[in-house]
C-alpha cells in the first residue's frame, strides 16, 4: 500500500564524480509522522534532503511523494516545502508577505491569501505579527515564520534542514519541544535532518541514523538507544563506554569476550547480531554509563558469569545536577570509563582518588563483531 506513505525513497544514489554522497538509501515515511535523519556532518543527509526538495537529481533510484514519482519534477512543482538551515526568510518583505509568497505564486486571490495568512500566523502562535519586518523578529519567531511560510501551502511533507543550528542553546532546547508540539497539532509529515542526537531523539517518531551515505538503522528513538543494530549507532546515539576484545566462548548462556586491555566481559549472546560467532572474532563492546551500578570499595557484588564487576579509581567528578557523572580509571587495566552518578545524592561526598566497585549485568552489554583491525577505530575511546 504505497499510497499510505507520504514519502518513499527507493535505492536512491547520488554521486558527485567518484564520490558517492548518498548510497542506496531506501525509506518510507508514514503520513503524519515526525521523521529525523541523524548523522555526522558530511554523511550525506543534506544531499538527501536536497534531492527530496528537487534541488539535486538522484543518480539512481526513485523518490515518491504520496505514491507518485517526482523524478524530473522541478523544485517549484513538488508538493514538499523546506525550512532552510538559515531560514532564508526574504528580508525585503514583511512577515505577511513572506507567508503569502507561495500563495501569490499559485495565483490565489487576494482575499483568500489574507485569510490563509492570518490563519497560519495564528496557528504558529504569532497572530498579530503580519506587518512586522523580518529584522524585528527574535530567533524563535523567525523559526516559526519560516515554518508558517511552508505550512500555508499545505505541503505533503515539510523538510527541515537543521533549522535549530543557528539558535543559542537555551532557545534550542525550547524550540525542540515547541516543534514537536506544532507537528503534533498540525499533523503534517516532517522530515528533519540534524547532527544533534538529542534533537532527533526528543522530537522524532522515527529516526534514521546515517553514516557515509548509508542508513545504519531506522527505528524509534528507544530502539536506537536500547537496541542499536550497528557499532556506529551504539557509539553515535547516546554515550557509551567502549572496549575492544576477542570473542572467546559461550558459557552458561553468556558470551565471554577477552578485552585487549585485559580482563573479560560477559555479554548476553543474543546481543550479538551475528549469530555464528567463532572463537577469535574481534568484537566492539559498549556499555551505557547509566547501566553501571557503583558501590563503595569492597561492597559491590562479586563477578559471576551473569554479572560484570570491576574496580575503578575516581579521576574526575563531572557534576551537572541530574546528569552528573564520574570519570574513572579501571584499577587492573587502566581503561578509562564514564559512569553516571545515581540521582539520590548517595555519592555526593565522592572525591578524586576514591576507589569504587562497579558492576553491570551481562544483558546491559552490547557487542558487535568488528571487521576492522584493532587499532582502526580509536575515535570514541571511552565516551562517544
Amino acid at each position: 500500500m504505497a499510497d499510505q506513505f507520504d514519502l518513499e525513497c527507493r535505492d536512491v544514489v547520488k554521486k558527485f564524480g567518484q564520490f558517492t554522497a548518498v548510497d542506496q538509501v531506501s525509506l518510507t515515511i508514514p503520513q503524519g509522522s515526525f521523521f529525523s535523519i541523524l548523522g555526522p556532518s558530511g554523511c550525506g543527509k543534506t544531499t538527501l534532503l536536497r534531492m527530496l526538495a528537487g534541488f539535486i537529481e538522484p543518480t539512481a533510484g526513485d523518490i515518491l511523494i504520496k505514491g507518485k514519482s517526482v523524478l524530473g519534477v522541478a523544485p517549484n512543482r513538488r508538493p514538499v516545502n523546506m525550512v532552510f538551515q538559515h531560514l532564508a526568510l526574504f528580508p525585503m518583505m514583511n512577515v505577511a508577505q513572506n507567508v503569502a509568497y507561495g500563495l501569490r505564486r499559485r495565483g490565489v486571490g487576494r482575499a483568500t491569501i489574507d485569510k490563509k495568512v492570518a490563519e497560519t500566523l495564528a496557528r504558529v502562535g504569532l497572530p498579530d505579527s503580519g506587518q512586522k519586518q523580518i529584522s524585528q523578529l527574535s530567533g524563535g519567531q523567525k523559526q516559526r515564520i519560516a515554518i508558517a511560510r511552508c505550512l500555508v501551502l499545505e505541503p505533503a511533507v515539510l523538510l527541515l534542514d537543521e533549522p535549530l543550528g543557528a539558535l543559542d542553546l537555551k532557545l534550542r532546547e525550547h524550540m525542540k519541544v515547541e516543534l514537536k508540539q506544532l507537528q503534533h497539532e498540525i499533523g503534517t509529515t516532517f522530515v528533519y535532518i540534524t547532527h544533534d542526537q538529542s534533537e532527533a531523539l526528543v522530537m522524532s517518531d522515527q529516526v534514521a541514523v546515517m553514516n557515509a551515505g548509508r542508513f545504519e538503522q531506522v527505528g524509534t528513538p528507544q530502539e536506537l538507544y536500547y537496541q542499536p543494530d550497528t557499532p556506529f549507532v551504539a557509539g553515535f546515539v547516546g554515550e557509551s563506554n567502549r572496549w575492544q576484545g576477542t570473542f572467546e566462548t559461550v558459557a552458561d548462556g553468556k558470551a565471554i569476550i577477552r578485552l585487549d586491555s585485559g580482563g573479560v566481559i560477559y555479554t548476553d549472546p543474543t546481543q550479538v547480531t551475528n549469530p555464528d560467532l567463532v572463537a577469535g572474532q574481534r568484537m566492539d563492546v559498549f556499555v551505557r554509563p547509566e547501566a553501571i551500578t557503583i558501590a563503595a570499595k569492597g561492597q559491590g557484588p562479586v563477578a559471576t558469569s551473569g554479572l560484570n564487576a570491576m574496580q575503578g579509581r575516581v579521576e574526575n567528578l563531572l557534576f551537572n545536577g541530574a546528569a552528573s557523572s564520574v570519570q574513572l580509571r579501571e584499577t587492573t587495566t587502566g581503561h578509562e570509563m564514564n559512569v553516571a552518578l545515581p540521582q539520590t545524592g548517595a555519592f555526593a561526598g565522592l572525591r578524586n582518588g576514591d576507589e569504587l566497585d562497579l558492576s553491570w549485568s551481562a544483558g546491559q552489554t552490547k557487542c558487535f563483531p568488528n571487521t576492522k583491525p584493532a587499532q582502526a577505530d580509536a575515535s570514541g575511546e571511552a565516551v562517544a
Binding site: F16, T47, R50, F55
Partner: protein
C-alpha cells in the same frame, strides 16, 4: 555539496550563459579591445598621400626627437607622481581621523562631507579655484585688504596652482579606499600595539600602514591614473604654461588633425599609465581585481 545548486538550471545553462555574455563580449570587443588595437595600428602608419598610408615608426621617432613632446611627457608623469604622493600624505590623516577617531553619527557626517564635493562636476570645482586664485580673485583681495601685499596678485597659471587643483580633484579617490580599509582595522590591534610598548610612530608604521596597504595601493593607482589623464585642471589652472600631455594629444587630434601622431601619443600615455599601475601593484603586492573590486 551546498554549492550544487547550479545543477538546477540543467541543460538551459549553456545557452543562458551565452545569451548573458553577449552584451559583455560586444562591449569589450567593440569599445575596448578593437579601438585600442586600431589606435596602435594608426599610430604605426604614415600618411604618404591622401588616403595612402605606409607602415612606419615615424610618429614614435618624432616623439623621441622633439624635445617639447618628450619633456611634456616626462613632466606630466613626474607631476602626476608628485600629486599622487601629496594626495596620499594629505588624505591619510584625514581618512584615519574619519575611520578611527570619529564615532557614530559624526563619523558618517564627516565622511559624507568628504564625498559630496566630488559629486559636483570637476569643471565647477576648477571654476571655484579660478575665482579664488585669479588676480581679481578672493584671495588676492583678502591679501590686499589685510595689507600683506600692495597690488593684485596673480596666483593662476603656475605649477603650484596646478598641483593644488590636482590634489583637490583627486582627494575623493584616495579618501574613500583609505577610510574603508582603516575602518576594517580592529581597534584592539592598535591597543595591543600600545600595550606591548609601542608609541604613535611605531604603531602607525608597524600596524596601521601595513594594514592599510591595499587601500593605499588602490587609492594611489586611481589617483595617478586620473591625474595623468586629466585635461581640465591643468588646462584651466595652468593656462598656456601647463604643458600637460593630454593637451598634446588634443592638439594633434583636433587642432592639427594629425591622427597618426595623436594616436602614437595616446598609446604612449596608455603605456606609461599601465606601466606605473603595474609597478604600483607589484610593489604593494596587490592585484588589479582586489584593488578595484
Amino acid at each position: 555539496m551546498k554549492n550544487a545548486s547550479g545543477s538546477v538550471a540543467g541543460g538551459g545553462l549553456k545557452l543562458g550563459v551565452l545569451l548573458m555574455a553577449t552584451p559583455l563580449l560586444l562591449w569589450l570587443l567593440l569599445l575596448v579591445i578593437l579601438p585600442h588595437l586600431d589606435l596602435l595600428m594608426v599610430s604605426l602608419r604614415e600618411r604618404i598621400s591622401y588616403g595612402k598610408y605606409a607602415f612606419s615608426f615615424t610618429n614614435y621617432i618624432e616623439f623621441f626627437t622633439e624635445p617639447l613632446y618628450w619633456n611634456t611627457y616626462v613632466r606630466t608623469a613626474t607631476m602626476s607622481i608628485l600629486a599622487t604622493a601629496l594626495t596620499l600624505v594629505i588624505g591619510f590623516p584625514i581618512s584615519y581621523y574619519i575611520a578611527k577617531v570619529m564615532r557614530g553619527r559624526g563619523k558618517s557626517v564627516l565622511f559624507l562631507m568628504c564625498l559630496i564635493p566630488f559629486w559636483v562636476s570637476e569643471l565647477v570645482r576648477t571654476f571655484g579655484w579660478m575665482i579664488l586664485l585669479r588676480e581679481s580673485g578672493v584671495i588676492s583681495h583678502f591679501l590686499q585688504w589685510a595689507g600683506l601685499v600692495d597690488g593684485p596678485v596673480e596666483m593662476l597659471y603656475n605649477d603650484v596652482t596646478i598641483m593644488v587643483g590636482l590634489v583637490y580633484t583627486s582627494m575623493l579617490f584616495m579618501v574613500v579606499p583609505l577610510v574603508s580599509v582603516l575602518d576594517s582595522l580592529d581597534d584592539s590591534l592598535i591597543e595591543a600595539g600600545y600595550d606591548l610598548g609601542g608609541n604613535a610612530f611605531t604603531v602607525t608604521r608597524d600596524i596601521v600602514i601595513p594594514h592599510a596597504m591595499p587601500g593605499i595601493a588602490s587609492g594611489c593607482i586611481v589617483v595617478f591614473m586620473l591625474t595623468l589623464g586629466n585635461y581640465l585642471t591643468p588646462n584651466l589652472l595652468g593656462g598656456k604654461s601647463s604643458l600637460w600631455f593630454t593637451e598634446q594629444i588634443y592638439t594633434q587630434f583636433i587642432t592639427r588633425f594629425n591622427w597618426e601622431s595623436g594616436s602614437a601619443f595616446g598609446f604612449l600615455l596608455l603605456v606609461l599609465s599601465s606601466l606605473i599601475v603595474w609597478l604600483g601593484l607589484k610593489l604593494s603586492r596587490q592585484t588589479l581585481s582586489d584593488t578595484v573590486g
